[in-house]
């Protein structure tokens, strides 16, 4: 395995670790708000690391730019969705 693949492997494993952290948070936490924390933060960090690993693996600018765009949109979608879900939960009086 070349150096490039080792780096990509490390990033992918780190990404999968954060996804695991997000899922454990989702399963263990009591109410919606703390689950939102787990999902939006850990999963997005996982997505960034996975995108980074794949960009290293793909090693061409067009793909890397697309991966960065996908990550940034993931960030945007996650933040606004978390806000909307929290607002919806508050409407329930939680």
């Amino acid at each position: 395995m070349s150096m490039q693949e080792w780096v990509a492997l490390a990033l992918l494993i780190a990404g999968c670790f954060f996804y695991l952290a997000g899922t454990i948070g989702l399963l263990r936490f009591g109410d919606v708000h703390s689950r939102l924390h787990a999902l939006t933060k850990a999963d997005n960090l996982g997505l960034m690391l996975v995108c980074a690993g794949l960009a290293v693996l793909a090693a061409d600018w067009r793909t890397s730019a697309l991966l960065v765009l996908i990550w940034l949109l993931g960030l945007l979608a996650a933040t606004v969705s978390a806000h909307l879900i929290a607002r919806h939960a508050r409407r329930d009086g939680k």
Partner: protein, 87 residues
Amino acid sequence: MSQILGLAVLFLLLNLVAGLWRVARGPTAADRMLAALLFGSTTVAVLLIMAEWMTMPALRSVALLFVMLAGIVTIAFFGLPAGDDER
């Protein structure tokens, strides 16, 4: 390397299944809306790794579409009346 990518996809899918189980059971409507978040992050990573693993670059546009859909589905879910158990 491709074997590792395959395992990563499997791992993330299992994460997705665990998350969906929790979301399906979640008491309030807000819990169910977490499904949109899940699909906005976990499935996107699955698609991107698959694009590399199965050498199908088109999957990256599918991932881009998923990210966009996650935002729109959350807006649609926002329309759910509070506590969808009664109504």
